[in-house]
Symmetry: C2
C-alpha cells in the first residue's frame, strides 16, 4: 500500500468513529468541556472523515442549528445521535420530556394494551421530535431488564422488571420510532439490569450462565431485533461465565457469537462510550478501539482520543490483526443505515408553517406526556394540606446546580410556598441535614421549627453512584412522624424508595409518588394537596398549554 492508499484507509476507518459535541453552537457554552470537542477540533475531525457525533445540551433551536452546521462542515451524511431514552425533552430544552420508561413497565402489569399503545406513541413522539431537531439516530430503547432494585444506573431507564414486559414494550417503542424515519439503538447488550455497580465508575460483574441470559436478558434484544431495531449498543460488563477474559464490549463471544450468530442481528453494533471510567482506566485508548472492532463491533462511540482510535484500527488492519472484511462490513452497515434515513425523508416534508414551527412541542406530544403522568402518579392519602405560617418544605436532591427540574418556577417550590411551606433545599454539597444517630438521623434543629413536608428527588443517575440511595430515609421518616412534624411525603424517581417508605407512613400522612421528576409531574402530583388556597389562581400560572395548530 502506498501513502495515499493508507490515507484513504485511515479516512474510511474514521467513518467508524463517533465523537461527542455539545448541542450548543458556542464553545463557551459547553457544559462538559473536557469531553465535548471544540468547534475547531470538530471541523478538523470532520475533515478527516469522522462518522458521527453524539450530542447533548441546548434548546430545540440550538440543536437544530447545530445539526445543520455539523452536516455542512462534513459535507456528507453524518450519524447524529443522542441518548433520547425519555423523549427528546430529556436532553433538549423545549421538547417533550416523557416519564421514564419503567412507568409504562409498571402500567403493563395492570393494563398491557394501554401500556403498549403508549409505548408506541412514546416511540413516535421521540422519533418525530428527534427528526425535527436534526438527530437521525436515537440511542434508545434500553432493553435491559431491571431485575436488581439496587441497580444504580438502569433503574427507571428500563422498560420493565421482567423480560416479557420489556420485550413487549421495546417492540412497541421500536415500531413507533421506526415510523418516524430515524434509526434506533437497543442497549446495553447483553443486558445491564442485574448489577448494583455503575459501569460509569467501575466494571460490573454479572455471574449469569448462558442459559440464564437466554432465559431473561437476551429476550428483549431478540424482540427488538424482530421488531427491526437498527443498531445495538454493547455494555461494559464482565461476564466471566461467558467470556472469562474480555468485558462484553471487547468480547468476540458476546458480539460475534451471541449477537451476530445466535441472535442473527444484521444491523450496526456500537460500543457504549469508551471514555467511561471502567474502560478508560483499564485499557490504552487505541487498543480499546481495536479490541472492540476486532470483537465484531462496527462503530466506536466516544473514544478517549479519536485520532488514536483511527490510527490503532488502521494499523491493526494493515498488519492483518483485523481482516479488511471487518471494515467493509462495518462501513456497509453504516451506509445502509444512512440510506434508510435518506429514503424516509420524502415522507416527512411538510408544508412550511411559521406558526407551528415556533411551538416545537405539538398538542399530541403534550397529550401523550400528560396521559403518562396521569396514569402513573400514585397518591397515598390524598387530602389538602392546611395552610401554616412556618412550614418547612424540605427538598432533597443529589444535584441542584443547573438542575432541570428544580428552579424558582418549579411547582415543588411554588405550590408549597403558597400554603406557608418555605423551601429548604438540601443537597450533597451543602450543609448536611443528617447527624450520626441511627434512631434520629435528621438534625432537626438545623431545620428550625414547624411542620415539614419532605420531597425527595432521587433516581439511579449515572456517575452519582448510590451515595444518596443509601441515606437513612426510613429512620428519617420515622423520626419526623414520632415528633409529629411530618405533613407530607413526596417522592420523585426511584420506585423502590417509595415502596420502602410508603409502608412506614401513618395512615393520616398525605403522600405521593411520581416516577418522573419534571415540573409537569410535580404540578400534577402536588396540585391536589395544595389546592384550596385562595391566592392560588393569582400567583401560580395554571397548567395551560397553548397550541396554535
Amino acid at each position: 500500500m502506498n501513502m495515499s492508499d493508507i490515507d484513504n484507509l485511515r479516512r474510511e476507518v474514521a467513518g467508524l468513529i463517533i465523537v461527542r459535541a455539545s448541542g450548543y453552537s458556542n464553545d463557551n457554552q459547553r457544559c462538559y468541556p473536557q469531553w465535548e470537542l471544540s468547534n475547531l477540533k470538530l471541523q478538523n475531525l470532520l475533515g478527516k472523515g469522522i462518522g458521527g457525533i453524539i450530542l447533548l445540551g441546548g434548546s430545540t433551536i440550538d440543536i437544530k442549528h447545530r445539526c445543520n452546521t455539523l452536516q455542512k462542515w462534513a459535507n456528507r451524511p453524518l450519524l447524529l445521535c443522542a441518548d433520547l431514552e425519555e423523549g427528546v425533552g430529556q436532553r433538549f430544552d423545549g421538547a417533550t420530556w416523557l416519564m421514564p420508561p419503567l412507568t409504562l413497565g409498571r402500567l403493563y402489569a395492570k393494563s398491557p394494551e394501554k401500556a403498549i399503545k403508549l409505548a408506541e406513541r412514546y416511540g413516535r413522539c421521540t422519533g418525530d421530535q428527534a427528526r425535527r431537531c436534526g438527530i437521525n439516530w436515537v440511542l434508545a430503547p434500553v432493553c435491559d431488564v431491571n431485575n436488581n432494585s439496587a441497580n444504580p444506573v438502569i433503574n427507571l431507564r428500563a422498560w420493565g422488571e421482567d423480560s416479557q414486559t420489556v420485550s413487549a414494550l421495546v417492540s412497541a417503542f421500536q415500531r413507533g420510532l421506526a415510523s418516524e424515519g430515524v434509526l434506533s439503538c437497543a442497549k446495553h447488550f447483553p443486558g445491564h439490569g442485574n448489577t448494583d455497580v455503575d459501569s460509569h465508575l467501575d466494571l460490573p460483574e454479572i455471574q449469569q450462565e448462558m442459559s440464564q441470559l437466554e432465559e431473561i436478558e437476551l429476550k428483549p434484544f431478540q424482540a427488538a431485533i424482530d421488531a427491526g431495531v437498527d443498531s445495538i449498543m454493547t455494555a461494559h460488563l464482565n461476564l466471566p461465565k461467558i467470556d472469562p477474559i474480555n468485558p462484553s464490549t471487547f468480547s468476540k463471544e458476546v458480539v460475534t457469537q451471541i449477537l451476530r450468530r445466535k441472535l442473527a442481528f444484521k444491523g450496526l453494533v456500537v460500543t457504549d462510550a469508551l471514555v467511561m471510567k471502567s474502560i478508560r482506566e483499564k485499557f490504552e485508548p487505541g487498543e480499546a478501539a481495536v479490541k472492540a472492532f476486532a470483537a465484531g463491533v462496527d462503530l466506536i462511540l466516544m473514544p478517549v482520543s479519536a485520532e488514536k482510535a483511527i490510527d490503532a484500527i488502521t494499523d491493526a488492519l494493515l498488519s492483518g490483526r483485523i481482516p479488511m472484511t471487518r471494515l467493509k462490513e462495518a462501513l456497509g452497515r453504516r451506509r445502509e443505515s444512512l440510506n434508510k434515513v435518506e429514503d424516509a425523508k420524502p415522507n416527512f416534508v411538510k408544508t412550511h408553517c411559521l406558526k407551528s414551527e415556533q411551538q416545537f412541542e405539538r398538542l399530541e406530544d403534550r397529550e401523550l406526556a400528560e396521559e403518562i403522568i396521569q396514569s402513573s402518579i400514585e397518591f397515598h392519602h390524598l387530602k389538602v394540606i392546611k395552610k401554616t405560617d412556618l412550614g418547612i418544605n424540605l427538598i432533597f436532591s443529589d444535584e441542584i446546580l443547573s438542575s432541570r427540574f428544580i428552579s424558582n418556577k418549579s411547582p415543588a417550590i411554588l405550590l408549597p410556598k403558597l400554603t406557608g411551606y418555605r423551601q429548604m433545599i438540601t443537597h450533597l454539597h451543602g450543609i448536611s441535614p443528617w447527624q450520626d444517630d441511627l434512631e434520629d438521623p435528621l438534625c432537626l434543629h438545623r431545620l428550625g421549627d414547624g411542620p415539614v413536608i419532605v420531597q425527595i428527588f432521587l433516581r439511579g443517575n449515572p456517575f452519582a453512584g448510590s451515595q444518596y440511595r443509601k441515606k437513612p430515609w426510613k429512620a428519617a421518616i420515622k423520626q419526623l412522624q414520632r415528633s409529629k412534624r411530618l405533613s407530607g411525603l413526596f417522592i420523585y424517581g426511584c420506585p423502590y424508595l417509595w415502596e420502602e417508605l410508603v409502608d412506614l407512613l401513618e395512615p393520616s400522612v398525605p403522600a405521593a409518588y411520581s416516577p418522573g421528576q419534571m415540573p409537569e409531574a410535580q404540578d400534577f402530583l402536588l396540585r391536589e394537596f395544595f389546592k384550596s388556597q385562595n391566592e392560588f389562581s393569582n400567583n401560580v400560572p395554571e397548567r395551560v398549554y397553548e397550541f396554535t395548530d
Copy 2:
C-alpha cells in the same frame, strides 16, 4: 370619528407599547411565565400593532431565531430590546459577558484614558453582538451616579460614583455602541443612584432639590445626550422637591420640563417597566400608562396589561385628556429611530462565513473581556494555598438555582477541589450557616472540621433586596480568623463589602476581589492561589479560547 378611525387610532397607540417575551422560542421554556407572553398572545398583540418587545433568556442561537420570528410575525419593523448593561452575555448564553460598568469607573480614577478606551470598546462589543443577535435597541448605558453604597439595585451597574466619571464613560460607551448601528438608552432618569430602596419592591424617595440634581445626577444624562443617546428611560422615584405629587415616570415636570426643555432631549423617552411593584401596586394598569404618556413619555414598557394600556391611552386621546399631537410626536420619534437602524444596516452586511458564524464571540470580544478582568481584580495577599485533606470551600450566594456563575464546571468549585477544599454551598433557601450570636455568627459545627476558604457572591440584585448584604460578614470573618481556620477570602461583586472586609484580614490571609461573578473572572482570580498542584493540567481545562478567524 367612526369605528374604523378609532380602530386605526388604537392601532397607532399599540405602536407605543413594548411587551415582554422570553428569548426562547418554546412557551414551555419561559423562565418567568407570569411575565413573558405566550406565543399565541404575542402573535395576537403583534397583529394589533404592538410596537416592540423586550427579550430575556436563551442562547445567541435562540435569540437570533426568536428575533427573526417576531419580525416575521409583525411583518413591519419592531423595536427589539434587551437590558444589555454588561455585554450581550449578561442576558444571552454564548455571547460576551463583560465585567460590570463600575469596574471601569474604578479604573477611571487611576487611568482615565484607558478606562475611556475600554468603555468605548465595551459599547462596540455590546452593539455588534446585539445587532448580530437581532436586537436593535440596547437598554444601556446606566447613567445613574452610584453615590450611595447601600443602593440595593444600581451598585455595580453604574459607570461610577461621581458624575464626572459617569459622564466620561457613558459618552465613550455611547460612541462605541452608536458605531454599531443599534439604538441606545440612558437610564434611569433623573438618576437612581442616591437611594437605598429597590424600586422593584417599593417607590424610593429622593430628597434632592433641583440644584442638587443639576450638580450631580443630571450631568451624565446631559453627557449621554450630547454624545447622541437615542432614548432615555424614566425611573420610578418620588422626588418631592421636584414634583410633590407624581413619581418621576408620571411627572410632567421631570419628563417634559426637565428632560425635554431643560436638557433639550429630542429622542425617545420610555418608561421603566410598569409591572414593577412600586407602580403596579399603586396605580391602575390603564391609568398608569395614561399618566406616563400624558407626562411626555413616548413608549410604555411592560404595562401590566397591553390591552388595557392601549384602550386607556386611546380613550384619553379621544376624550381630549391628552392632545393628539403627543401621539404624533411619539410615533414620529419611534419611526425616526427605526429608520436610523435601517439606514445603518448596509454598513454591516458581511460576507457569509460559516466558520465565524459558529463562534459567536470573536477574538476581539474575548480580548476585551480579559483585559477588563485583568485590570480590575484586586489581590490582597497572593500566595499559593496549600493542599489539604479536609478543607471546606464555603460558598455564599443568594441564589443558586439556575445560577449562571455557579455550576459544577465553575472554577470557584473546581480549583479549590483540587487542593482538597470540597464545596459547601450555602444560600438563602438552604440550611442556614448562621446562628444568633453577634460574636460568633457562623455555626461552625454545621460546617465540620478543617480549614475554610470563604467565597462570597453578592451584588445589588433587583428583587433580592438587601437581605444578603446585611448578614454579619465582618463578625464571621473575625470568627474564622480567631479560630485560625480562614485560609482565604474571595469576593465577587459588591466592592463595598470587599472594602469592609479586607481591612479586617490578618496580613497572612490570602484574599482577592472581583467585580464580576462570571466563570472567567473566578478563574483569573483563583488560579494563582491554587496553582502549584500537579494534577492541575490533567483535570482542569486551561483557559484556552479557540478562535477560527
